[in-house]
Each structure stands twice: as C-alpha cells, then as structure tokens.
C-alpha cells in the first residue's frame, strides 16, 4: 500500500485503556484513510471492542489521541462524534425494542441532522417526509431487510437485529463505520450477503470501514488491510494474506481456538 497523500481520516495514536490494572488496549496506533477498509482481528479479549469504545467516546482512554479529519475527538461526547460521521454497530446488540425497523432508521436520520426540535413536534411538523422515507427505503433495500421494515425489532432474531444496526448506522451516511462482529448470528448465506453490502458501500459511497470480525473468510473478502491485536497490543499489520501467514498471528489465534 502506497503512502497516502491526503492525511488519514481517522488517526488513533498511542491509545491506552486500563481496567482496574488490566491493560485492555495498550499503546495502539491505527490510521484509517478515506474509503479504506481495515479488518481488525484478534482473539476474544484482545481489546477490539474497547478500542471501538475509545474511538466512539463510550470510554475515555488513559493515554493517546483520537482524531477525525484532524479534529481531536477526545473531548467530544459520543453524540457529537456520531454527528461528525462516526457510526458503529455493537457486539452486544443495542437496538430499541419498542420500535419497528423503519423507525430505527428514521431516528438515526434525525439524530444525525439534530433536527429534534420541540417546536416542530408541537406544530405537528415531525411526520416522516418523503425524502426521509426514500432514504430509509434505499438503505433497507441495500442491507436486505426491506421486507421487515414494519416489524418491531423485539420480534426479530439476533441476526436480523445485527442487520438493523447496520442499516441504522448507514442511513445517516457516515464517513466512518465501525462494525463490531456484524456477522455473528448470521448464517453462511447472510454473511456472504453482508460482505457484499460492505464492499458495495465502500466502492460506491467511499465509506471508510473498520471491521471487527471472527469470520476470517469474510474479512479477507472485504478488507484492504488487516490489523491483528492480541492482549491489547497490535501484533501485526499489513495486507490480509501476508498478515495471516505471520507466525505470531497464528500463535495468538491457535492459543485461543485450539
């Protein structure tokens, strides 16, 4: 991969997070360029989710910096980071059980644009516009859950909930998507479908993607570059195939999965 000319979209430098003496993320540095997709892999407990939390603001790292487009994110609350175009999905799903799939996407659209004005509600100006429902339909179609649009998510399975989260994250047209194990709970066909969607997004919308995933086959299909973490540290980085051939990586993985 050639040196990028423009500065990276997301710059994570020296991020360290400690939980009561346990180093969850230790001095991790990652750059993500515009439109680039990176696979973040590693055994359970490697610190991948914690790193996501540091980027999105659910956690504050002890050390290090996180910058988006040269703007430091560390002092911004989560919701402001989201409005700057950082979207994510969660390993432990965070859907809104009372709402239908469509409502999830409407909320996401409005939250990103911060158009939650009380006076609009009071003047009954808050119904869903045709423009909004057009965008919602488009994303539902893309992710492949259009037929479940009116279903309350509480009655969906785990796999569908992950797709709802993905659609919800995408509808606000983020510049950076952090996906935390999006394929767990999906079957093989759905996973292939998902890989397809992620590739399309990257190619057509120039979305930058940071993908945490245990299904290495899928990661290989989607990403340009892979970063391997173990016990809080980055142990390898580079093109997917090269990285996977690295003995240190094989050791880290076999230590867990064998």
């Amino acid at each position: 991969m050639a040196e990028p000319r423009t500065p990276p979209l997301l710059q994570v430098a020296g991020v360290t997070k400690i939980f009561g003496g346990i180093l969850a993320v230790g001095d991790v540095t990652i750059n993500v360029n515009r439109g680039e997709s990176i696979g973040l892999v590693g055994p359970n407990g490697a610190g991948k989710t914690t790193l996501f939390n540091c980027i999105c603001g659910q956690l504050r790292p002890e050390r290090g910096t996180v910058e988006l487009d040269g703007v430091s994110l560390l002092d911004l609350p989560t919701y402001k980071r989201a409005r700057m175009g950082v979207s994510r999905t969660y390993q432990r799903i965070e859907v809104f059980p009372d709402m239908t799939v469509r409502e999830h996407l409407v909320v996401a659209l409005r939250a990103r644009q911060s158009t939650g004005r009380l006076w609009r509600d009071m003047c009954n100006l808050s119904s869903v516009t045709t423009d909004e429902s057009g965008r919602v339909d488009e994303v539902l179609e893309l992710v492949g859950i259009a037929d479940q649009a009116e279903v309350p998510v509480a009655s969906l399975g785990l796999g569908s909930c992950r797709l709802v989260e993905l659609a919800r994250a995408l509808v606000s047209e983020p510049v950076l998507l952090l996906a935390d194990e999006p394929s767990s709970g999906l079957d093989i066909r759905e996973t292939a479908e998902l890989a397809n969607v992620l590739r399309t997004l990257q190619h057509e919308r120039g979305l930058a993607l940071l993908l945490v995933e245990h299904d290495l086959g899928m990661v290989g299909e989607v990403v340009d570059r892979a970063i391997v973490m173990n016990l809080g540290n980055v142990i390898a980085e580079g093109p997917f195939d090269t990285v996977m051939a690295d003995p240190a990586v094989r050791h880290a993985y076999l230590g867990v999965t064998a």
Partner: protein, 677 residues
C-alpha cells in the same frame, strides 16, 4: 462540651435505627441487586404489630418482640423474595423500583384496611424503660430507649459482621449479586443465599422498627418514611456496598441531626424541619459527589451478553380497522361524557368527574416522564404543589388572576423539574428516584409550610375573585368546561410530543442509551427536556387541583401522593395517554364508589391497596396491567369481528390462546428472515 453532648446523645437512638436500616438496605442490595424501597414499610409493620400486641392484646413485651420481629420480620422478607423479587431478578431497575414502591404504598394501606385507621400510641421499648434515666454521660442523662437502641444495634451488627466474615455466606452473597448464574455454575445454590439475605434484612427492618417506635409518642408511618430516607442517605455514602460504612454513616447522621437541631433557633421552621431536610441534604450530596453511585445501574451481569435480545413488551399493533372502531368509540364516549356532565349528572358525580379531569391532567405528567422518559420521578405531586403555591402567593400578594398565576407557577414547577433533571443528569433509575423522593420530602417539610406561614394556618383558600369566569361557582359548569379544555390541550401536547421527533428519540433512549447516543442523540438534553415538559404539565394539573379543591395546602401535594400517583398510573398504563385518563378517572371513581361501602372496609386505603396490587404486576406487564388486558380483549374482538391473521396476533406473546401463543415471538417471524436472501 456538655452542651454538645446534650444535643448529640438524643441522636444516638436515631442514629442506631438509621444504621440498622442502612445495613439492611445494603445487605439486600449486595445479595440480590434489589434496592428495597419497601424497607421502611417493613419496619413499620413490625413496629405496628409489636405495639398493638402489647397495648391492645396485653402480650408480654418479649413475646410481642419474638412474634413481630423475630418471626414476622424474616417471614415478610422471605415472602418478598419468594413471591416477588425472585421472579423479577433479571428485569430492569425500574421494574424492581416499582415493585418496591407498590409495597411501600400498599403495606400501610393493608394494615389500615385490616386494623382500621386508628393510630397506635406510646409504643413500648423492648428492653429498658424510655422514661427512666439509667446513666449520665458527662452529665447528660441517657434514657432507656437510647440504652436499648445502642445495645441492640451493637449486638446485632457485631453478630452480623461475624457471620459474614467467618462463614461462606458473605462470599456467596457477593457472588450472587455479581452474577446469579455464575455463582450457580460454581455449584452454589444462589436462590438459598438470596433467601437468607432477605430473611436477615427482614429481621433487621423489624428490629429497627421497634427500636425507633418508643422515640415517638405516636406510631406514624411518616416517621418511617423519613427513617428510610435517612437510611437511603447513609447507604448511599456507603455506595450500597460497605456494611460498616453504612452503619457508621447512619449513626453519624442521627447524631448530626439532633446536634444541628440543638444549635438552631428553637421553634424556627428549620428546627422542626431538620429531621427530614438534613437527610435530604446528605442524600443529595451523596448522589452528586459519590461517583460510584452513578455506575450502579450500569453494572451488568457478565453473562448477560449471551442473552437473547430483550423479549418484546406487548406490541401495540392493531389492525387499522380496529383502530378506526376504537377512535370512533372514544369520540362517542367523549361526546356522551360532555353532554352528561352538562345536563343530567348529579353534582356529586360532576365533582367526581371534575376531579377525574384534574387527575388525568396531572397524570399526563407521569406519562411524559415515566412512559416516555423511562424515569421514575417520585416528586410529581410536589411539582404540582409548586405551581399551586406559586399561584396562591401571586394571588395573595400581587392580586394575580389564579389562572395566570397558575401558568407562571407551572413554569416555576418546570424550572424546579429542570433543577432536578440537572442534578440527576448522571444518575438514572435508582439514583433519580431517590433524589426525587428526597426532594419531595424536603418540599413537604420545609418549603410548603414556609409558603403557608403568612398567617394562613393549614391552607390557603382559593378565593372566587382570584379565578373569575365563575369557575368556583359550585352550581355552574364553568369549572368542568375549563378543566376539560385544559385537559384536551395537555393531551394534544403530549400526543404531539409522543408522535414527534422527541417521542422517537426518547423511545430510542428507553430502548438503549448506548445505541441512542451512538446515533447522535444528546441524552442530557432529552433528559432535561422531558423533565421540563413533565414539570409544566404537573404544574398545570396542580393549579387545576387547587381550584377544584378550593384550597392550596401541603396535604394536597405530599410525597405519599406522588408515590400513589406512580402506582396508579403504572397500573393503568404509563405509556399512553389513554393510560393517564384511565388512571385519573379510575382513581376518583373508585374512591367515590367506596364511599357507598361501610367505612370499616378501609375506605380510601382500599383504593391504594387495589392499585398497589395492580402495580405489582409491572415487572410482567410494564405497559400496565389494565392496558395489557385491554389490548388482549381488543385483540379478541379484532379476531372475532375482522377475522385477522393469527400471525399478527402471534407477535403479542402470551396473548393469543392458539397453538402459537406460547411460542417465543422469534419463532413466528424468523422464517421470514430467510426469504429476502
């Protein structure tokens, strides 16, 4: 020094009971993850029975003690565990709180239904005579109740400490609250550990109850509510974790209270209010400054990530045809109601329904804060009172029209609500409920009496000249028209917020705070916003209530009413406007119907018992048991009349009687997942 001890020593018995109650609270919380809101009621039951057995039935004191504390205390604790809290161990904080609050409200009501509402006087002491001075500490006399309290407290706490340290029980308890399932994987019977904790804490409640009793001449539930808030404060400083800090904080608070009281000017408002306002200040300080309290609701079971998504609360889907039918029925009902009120209904019932309109308005504020905001505020009656008192003051001193003053008052109530919201920004669930009930007690004891103290006596009458429009004329329908219009405006406002972006955002926050902020929703702003709206509506309701009652008095807006309101609304459905209306009318109509029943059946207490039982079902039916039943019947009619597809019905678990009824909802819709691929 003697001065100081003279003030401090009378505080010791209070401190001891605070300590015992705080320890009991922490113990249950540690072992079961439940913050037992009903704890004060448990203490009251034991004290009540103890006193009654001694005074009315002439039991020897030791026997009464054994029956009411050693036997009844643990039995109540075990019953709570077995029949209530065990079933809801995995539900959210709100459900546990509602269950506790229902018990807190329901238990004294049950007592007065059973034993009548006559109070018990001069409760006896379990060991030493309260009237006798047994010793002097540095010249300060120490009477029997103080000696008893100290001895009993020290003995019990030392014994408890030894048991927890030198048996496996302590360790297992700590394990049980971290993750019941993990503990069970280790081969520990977590259910038994939890039951033991409930039994011990039940005993402690009973003990605290009888120790506190002789310090008052008359046994009153209010004193136990105040005891509980004091214990909340002590437990809060212990971060609901450390038994020894809880005990220490309890004793210190008791001592500090009487000491402060001693140095305050005698007969000042503050001197009498210190007993309830000092715990409030300590509690608020803890909520604001003890960082560990903010994380209480967020600690999650490490195994919970393997759970399937939360099961659906009953979906509110109904067929469009059914929607139309119901809407038409509502309009017919509304029309019939208005015509009846204006024509043939007797004045008694017109008054009852007027009160229903007022309560419905007030209850809409609970729809906002609890149904939409997902937070339990225990100060809604207080907010109503803030508006009413403001209006009364403006009318008295500046000659404001009461309606205009009420609007200003509603804005003031909204501002008070915003202060509560800002103070609780980092708190959720439990912390917020504690903060609001403490605020309610503070207003009851300090602010409202102060607002009266312009020579008004017990209440301020709402003069006809204040209101105008003939609203206070008992023979006309002006009040009805006014209350109806106000209610309709409030309903429209609430519906607009509910259906609008704000409603959607709040729905998202209720579903998942993490998910909602991750999308760009500002939680703090939404939190403050819904408090402000709720305060506004509560204030409007309060003003209307004052006009309807013809007076403004602290008794109309006390903390107990706030608790009762929550229990009532949660029973009929906090999530919908219909729920608030059902609550408002149900509450007053039931009260009126009970006036036709002989008083010995308990009168208004029976209404409270009724709704308290209703609210106990909250964990199973968070949408409200009445709402649940209504949807169930609607669904049956729907199927009968429109022959709708049973698959739609299957989305509502446990509702349809058909073969799919019991199946998890996933099974019904899941096949569709494969279709899109």
């Amino acid at each position: 020094m003697q001065h100081f001890l003279g003030f401090a020593i009378p505080g010791v018995p209070f401190g001891c009971t605070y300590a015992i109650v705080a320890v009991g609270l922490v113990l249950t919380y540690q072992a079961t993850g439940v913050f037992n809101f009903a704890y004060g009621a448990q203490a009251y039951v034991s004290a009540y029975l103890f006193t009654r057995l001694v005074q009315n039935n002439h039991f020897p004191v030791w026997l009464a003690f054994v029956l009411s504390v050693v036997v009844l205390g643990p039995v109540i604790g075990l019953a709570f565990d077995r029949f209530l809290f065990r079933k809801i161990a995995t539900t959210n904080t709100t459900a546990k709180l509602v269950t506790g609050i229902s018990l807190f409200v329901g238990i004294p009501a049950v007592l007065s239904v059973i034993f009548g509402s006559a109070n018990q006087y001069s409760p006896p002491s379990i060991l030493f005579d309260p009237g006798t001075v047994y010793l002097h500490v540095d010249g300060t006399p120490v009477n029997g109740s103080a000696v008893t309290a100290v001895l009993a407290t020290v003995a019990i706490l030392v014994a408890l400490g030894l048991v927890l340290r030198f048996s496996n029980l302590g360790l297992q308890m700590r394990g049980a609250v971290e993750s019941r399932r993990l503990t069970e994987l280790d081969g520990v019977n977590a259910g038994r550990v939890v039951a033991v904790a409930w039994a011990i804490s039940g005993f402690l409640a009973g003990l605290a109850g009888v120790l506190l009793a002789p310090t008052y001449g008359e046994l009153q539930f209010n004193d136990y509510a105040a005891l509980m808030v004091a214990a909340f404060a002590a437990a809060a400083w212990a971060v609901l974790r450390s038994l020894s800090i809880a005990a220490l904080a309890g004793v210190l608070m008791g001592v500090a209270t009487t000491t402060l009281q001693g140095y305050l000017p005698v007969n000042s408002v503050w001197s009498s209010a210190i007993f309830t306002s000092f715990p409030f200040i300590v509690l608020v300080a803890a909520l604001l400054f003890v960082p560990g309290l903010r994380r209480l609701d967020r600690t999650k079971d490490p195994l919970s990530s393997v759970d399937p998504p939360t099961p659906p609360s009953v979906s509110s889907l109904r067929a469009p045809q059914m929607d139309r039918v119901i809407r038409i029925l509502w309009y017919v009902l509304l029309g019939g109601f208005v015509v009846s009120m204006l024509t043939w209904l007797p004045t008694t019932w017109e008054n009852v329904f007027n009160a229903g309109l007022v309560f419905s308005t007030l209850f809409l504020s609970i729809t906002l804060i609890t149904g939409m905001g997902g937070q339990l505020s225990l100060a809604q009656a207080t907010l109503a009172g803030v508006a009413a008192f403001t209006a009364a003051q403006l009318a008295t001193h500046f000659g404001f029209n009461f309606l205009v003053g009420g609007l200003i008052g509603a804005v003031v109530a909204s501002a008070v609500a915003v202060i509560l919201a800002l103070a609780s920004v980092r708190l959720r669930g439990l912390g917020l409920s504690l903060l609001t009930i403490a605020a309610a007690l503070f207003f009851d004891n300090t602010v409202f009496p102060q607002a009266l103290s312009g020579g008004h006596g017990q209440s301020i009458s709402v003069l006809p000249t204040w209101v105008g429009l003939g609203v206070t004329n008992p023979d006309g329908h002006a009040f009805f028209v006014l209350a109806m219009v106000v209610l309709l405006i409030c309903i429209a406002g609430v519906q607009l917020v509910r259906r609008g972006t704000t409603g959607r955002f709040l729905g998202a926050i209720r579903g998942s705070e993490t998910g909602a902020t991750g999308l760009g929703i500002n939680l703090t702003w939404q939190h403050v916003l819904i408090f402000a709206l709720s305060g506004l509506v509560a204030g409007i309701g309060g003003t209307m209530g004052a006009i309807q009652q013809g007076q403004v008095s602290p008794g109309l807006f006390n903390y107990q009413l706030s608790l009762v309101f929550v229990v009532v609304v949660v029973t009929t459905g906090a999530g919908t406007v219909e729920g608030a209306l059902q609550a408002g009318f149900g509450f007053v109509v039931l009260q009126q119907l009970l006036t036709y029943v002989p008083a010995r059946f308990g009168g208004n207490s029976l209404v409270v018992v009724f709704f308290a039982f209703g609210a106990l079902t909250y964990a199973a039916h968070p949408e409200g048991i009445v709402e649940f039943q209504k949807r169930r019947w609607t669904l049956r009619f729907e199927r009968l009349i429109f022959h709708t597809d049973p698959a739609t019905a299957g989305r509502i678990p446990g509702v349809s009687g058909g073969p799919t009824g019991g199946a998890p909802p996933v099974a019904v819709v899941e096949p569709a997942v494969g279709d899109h691929g």
